[in-house]
Structures are given as structure tokens and as C-alpha cells.
């Protein structure tokens, strides 16, 4: 029994003059999922998310959010979604509490924004003007505004751009908590680490198309990258026999520093176990596993711009 998807996009297409921003994109997002979209700048992520929020009208294809067409049934849909936009602002002299109070007043049902203020670390900035906030504080306020109506689906476009590592982790916790309350989250991001750690499934977008879509673990497995385990052996040690382990594909040694390569992360356990059984003493153990960044670079074939 498969539940109805919360978001369903079929053959979405959007062009701006001669530029094809989104080219026949299809995907579904299930209830309670954190779904991420990654891709270089200009890949079409923001256009896709804006079609789902009802900010843009698709040229062709079908978009349904909570079973509603964002373009035609916007009045029914808008009270049930939350959105954090990539480029937007509030009036310079609007105070933080006024913004939350104002946005809460747009909805029949709203979350307690005092709690949000606390959770977002903005309690001290309660009476500050919007223009006096730092970039990260503005970003957190926008996330607060996206959550102020306790939405069923939240769209977050580049949610942690401009945030420092602590604030980024706090936002991740908040997003997980939102999902924990049964909500669905759709986000775009520039940070592969963010997609890998936060998202249940990730779509990689490139030139208006989805080139891969799966769980972060499956995406990483799919490119068949190597896991490496490096260590320094103490005393006399001849590593050749490690190659007999089924998960090991090769060894490079330089003096007493050895790097063992393998196809899956099983190799880490296998090598460490084998070394312990043989009574080999080692130090400075490091492992290097493939990440979503490797997937991204392999699929899009280039560094992320900016």
C-alpha cells in the first residue's frame, strides 16, 4: 500500500525565452520525507521550487502539492504550505517580533511564534529592526516565517546559505524536528554535506534535468568509489596478506604508512579486525569514504560555482 505523494511533479517544463530552465522533470515526495535537490547554479532548482510554491506558472507538465495545483488552487494551498525564498526581504524598519506576528495573522492556524523565536536563537533580537540583523539572523527569521503557520509541507530554498557551522547544525535539528512532527520538507542546497546528512532522498539536477535521484547512501554506492583506510604500523609489518581479504582491492605502502583500498565501507571493519587478530599494532588510523560530493562531481562533471 503506497500513500499518496505529498508532492508530485510530472514532466515539468519551464523556459525563459530561449533558455530551458527546467526540462521535463518528474519526481514525487512522500509524506514525512526530507527531500533535497542539489545542483550547480542555474540548474533549475529554484525554478522547480517556485513552480511548487505557485510563484511561477509551468509552461507544461503537471505539479500537484497536497493534491492541489499551486497555480490554479493557490488559495486552497497557500494556507497549508510554508516557504523560504532564496531572494526576498522584509521592510527595513520592521521588527523581528512584528514580522512573525504579522505573518502569523495571515493564517487561520498558526504556531506559537514565541517558541519559534527561541528555537531559532532570535529571542534577543526580538525588537531589532530587520535591517539591523546579520545575514544569518535574517535567514533564520525567514525560516521562522516559513514555519509560522505550522505547514504540512515546507519549501526551503538554500536554507543554510550564509549561516555559520553552529547555526547550520541548529537549523538541521529544527528541520529534523519539523519532519518528526509528521511534516514534509522539500529543500534545495549548495552543501553536499547538508544533503547527505539531512535528506532522506536527494535529486541531483543538472541543466534542467534530474540526473540522479535516490537515498544519499545509494547514490554514493552507485558511483562505485573506493573507501580508503590508512594507518601507520608499529614494528615490522608486511601488509601483502591483507590483499587476500575479499573486500580489499589494493594496498599502497610507503615505509610503515599503508593505505588499503576497498569497494565498500565493510573494508574498514575487515581490515581493523584482521590487524587485531594478527596482533599488529597501529596508530594514526584514518578512513576516507566517498561522499555525496564525489557523486555530485562525477554526475555534473564540474565544481560547484560560487
Amino acid at each position: 500500500m503506497v500513500a499518496l505523494p505529498v508532492v508530485s511533479v510530472e514532466r515539468l517544463r519551464k523556459t525563459y525565452g530561449p533558455v530551458i530552465a527546467v526540462d521535463e522533470v518528474s519526481f514525487e515526495v512522500q509524506e514525512g520525507e526530507i527531500f533535497g535537490m542539489v545542483g550547480p547554479n542555474g540548474a533549475g532548482k529554484t525554478t522547480t521550487i517556485e513552480c511548487m510554491e505557485g510563484l511561477r506558472r509551468p509552461d507544461s507538465g503537471r505539479v500537484a502539492v497536497l493534491g492541489l495545483d499551486p497555480d490554479r488552487n493557490g488559495n486552497a494551498l497557500r494556507p497549508r504550505i510554508g516557504a523560504q525564498l532564496q531572494t526576498s526581504a522584509l521592510p527595513e524598519r520592521m521588527r523581528v517580533w512584528e514580522a512573525l506576528d504579522l505573518f502569523a495573522s495571515f493564517y487561520r492556524r498558526s504556531a506559537d511564534w514565541n517558541v519559534l523565536l527561541e528555537r531559532l536563537g532570535l529571542a534577543e533580537k526580538r525588537s531589532a529592526f530587520f535591517s539591523k540583523l546579520s545575514g544569518g539572523q535574517k535567514q533564520r527569521l525567514f525560516i521562522g516565517l516559513a514555519l509560522v503557520n505550522d505547514p504540512e509541507v515546507v519549501f526551503l530554498d538554500e536554507l543554510t546559505t550564509g549561516l555559520d557551522p553552529q547555526a547550520r547544525r541548529a537549523i538541521w535539528d529544527l528541520v529534523r524536528e519539523v519532519r518528526g512532527n509528521g511534516k514534509t520538507v522539500f529543500l534545495t542546497t549548495h552543501f553536499m554535506e547538508e544533503a547527505e546528512r539531512l535528506c532522506d532522498r536527494v535529486a541531483v539536477m543538472e541543466r534542467g534535468r534530474i540526473v540522479a535521484l535516490d537515498t544519499p547512501a545509494n547514490l554514493i554506492d552507485s558511483i562505485g568509489a573506493e573507501t580508503r583506510i590508512a594507518f601507520t604500523a608499529e614494528g615490522t609489518f608486511e601488509p601483502g596478506w591483507l590483499e587476500k581479504l575479499p573486500t580489499v582491492t589494493g594496498i599502497d605502502s610507503m615505509d610503515d604508512r599503508h593505505v588499503v583500498r576497498g569497494t565498500s565501507d565493510r573494508v574498514i571493519v575487515d581490515v581493523v579486525n584482521a590487524l587485531s587478530v594478527k596482533g599488529v599494532r597501529f596508530r594514526d588510523l584514518r578512513t576516507e569514504q566517498p561522499t555525496l560530493e564525489d557523486v555530485f562531481l562525477k554526475l555534473t562533471g564540474r565544481q560547484m560555482r560560487d
Binding site: 497557500r78 525564498l85 531572494t87 521592510p91 493564517y107
Partner: protein
């Protein structure tokens, strides 16, 4: 209309926090009244048809307040909200576009009312200003005038591409209008050529209507002004519906 009243209230507070807006709608007209009132007093004079300077200055300054809030504040506000992305941020919320515009109209009515109340109270208390027209007619004339200038503001907001061009455009319109329309300098003191040219300024019709209704003229004597102002509203709304942009 959920959220409209709170949005209106917040917008009114924002207008009051804007130094330029608060100065030109609330402080500047009062300064004018106090300066010229203390120089010339409010003695009846045949030059002003038997009325004193303050009697005819207050409807003029009210016209200036209307011009300021309708054309100046509204145009700048919409242009900067559009440029900064404030309008964009409101779009995925249940607050509908017409409510966003309605809140501006209501908040600016509030600003205009504050500015005019300050003028009326000061005029009455310090200079025994006379208002001969009945209060309902005066209120109706003020409302019609305010709406006509808000319509002008919306038209300008739809045309100007950026906040900077908006500022330059409204300055270029505001200053000649307030000095040549009779709003600040009584029309009795303007040369005939300027009075002919100023017939092309919308503000001149506001000044003439307000001054007339203020001293108890029947509406019948001001049908041309009423026609111009109603025309501004009709044409303004039609143009705005075609040209208004959210991004």
C-alpha cells in the same frame, strides 16, 4: 481579509518610523503653519475674500499632505518593496495582492488623517481658524482628494523601474506642484501665467476643491475639480491594473 488590519497597522507604524515620511506629512506642514501664522496672523482680509491667511492656508497644507502621502510615500514604498523583494515574500502567503495594496491605502489614509488633524487642531487653537463648510462635505472632499493622489501614486509605482528613479520622479513632480498649485503659496499671490500653467497640475484641483468646500462653497461650484479627481481615480485604477508589477 485575514491579516489586512494587522498589515495596515504595521504599515502605519513603518510610515511613522520613516524619518522622511513622518517629517513631510506631520512636521513640515505644521512648521509652515506656525511660521506663516506667526508672521501674518489670521486677520480677515479682502485679498483672500474676507478670510484670513490661516483659513485658506490650512486647506492648502492639507493638499500638500495628501500629495505627500499619496504620490510620494506610496510610490517610494511600492517601488522599494518591489526592489527589495518584500512583495515577493508575501506572494506564497494567503494574503492576497489586493489586500497588500488595500493596506497601503488604509495606512496612508491614516497618515493623511494624522497630518490634517495636527493642522486643524493647531489652526483652531492658535489662530481661531474658521471652517465654514459642513464637516461631512469637508471630509468627503478630503477623501476624494486622497484617493485621487493614491491613484496617481499607484500609476507612478507601476512605471518607475527602481526606488532611485521613483525618488527622482516624485521629487520632480512634488516640488513644482506644492509651490505652484496654491498649496503653500496662495493662488492670489501667483502671477496669472503660473496660474494658467498650474491648471495642468493635479494638485491645483485638490487645492481649489478643498479651499472652496472649506469656506462653504456648494459642490455645484466645483464640478470641474470633482470631475478631474474622479477621472484620476478611474484612469489610475485602469492603468494600474495593466502596468502593476510584483517583481
Amino acid at each position: 481579509m485575514r491579516g489586512l488590519w494587522k498589515f495596515t497597522w504595521v504599515e502605519l507604524k513603518l510610515f511613522l518610523r520613516e524619518p522622511m515620511g513622518a517629517f513631510f506629512t506631520l512636521i513640515f506642514p505644521m512648521m509652515m503653519l506656525l511660521c506663516f501664522g506667526s508672521i501674518y496672523g489670521n486677520k480677515p482680509s479682502p485679498h483672500f475674500g474676507g478670510f484670513g491667511l490661516v483659513d485658506i492656508a490650512v486647506p492648502g497644507y492639507s493638499a500638500m499632505v495628501i500629495c505627500m502621502s499619496g504620490m510620494f510615500l506610496l510610490t517610494i514604498r511600492i517601488a522599494s518593496y518591489r526592489e527589495q523583494g518584500v512583495l515577493r515574500r508575501l506572494r506564497p502567503t494567503p494574503l492576497r495582492p489586493h489586500a497588500v495594496l488595500a493596506a497601503q491605502v488604509l495606512a496612508l489614509f491614516g497618515m493623511t488623517a494624522l497630518g490634517m488633524t495636527a493642522l486643524l487642531v493647531t489652526g483652531k487653537l492658535l489662530y481661531h481658524m474658521r471652517v465654514v463648510g459642513d464637516p461631512l462635505s469637508v471630509a468627503a472632499a478630503l477623501t476624494l482628494s486622497t484617493l485621487s493622489f493614491l491613484a496617481l501614486g499607484f500609476v507612478l509605482a507601476g512605471i518607475v523601474p527602481t526606488t532611485r528613479t521613483a525618488l527622482a520622479t516624485v521629487m520632480a513632480l512634488f516640488y513644482p506642484m506644492i509651490f505652484l498649485s496654491g498649496a503653500t503659496i496662495p493662488r492670489e499671490d501667483l502671477p496669472a501665467t503660473i496660474r494658467r500653467v498650474s491648471q495642468f497640475f493635479p494638485l491645483t484641483h485638490v487645492v481649489n476643491l478643498l479651499r472652496g468646500i472649506w469656506i462653504g462653497d456648494p459642490w455645484g461650484r466645483h464640478l470641474p475639480e470633482v470631475g478631474v479627481l474622479v477621472g484620476m481615480i478611474v484612469v489610475g485604477v485602469a492603468i494600474t491594473a495593466k502596468t502593476f508589477r510584483w517583481e
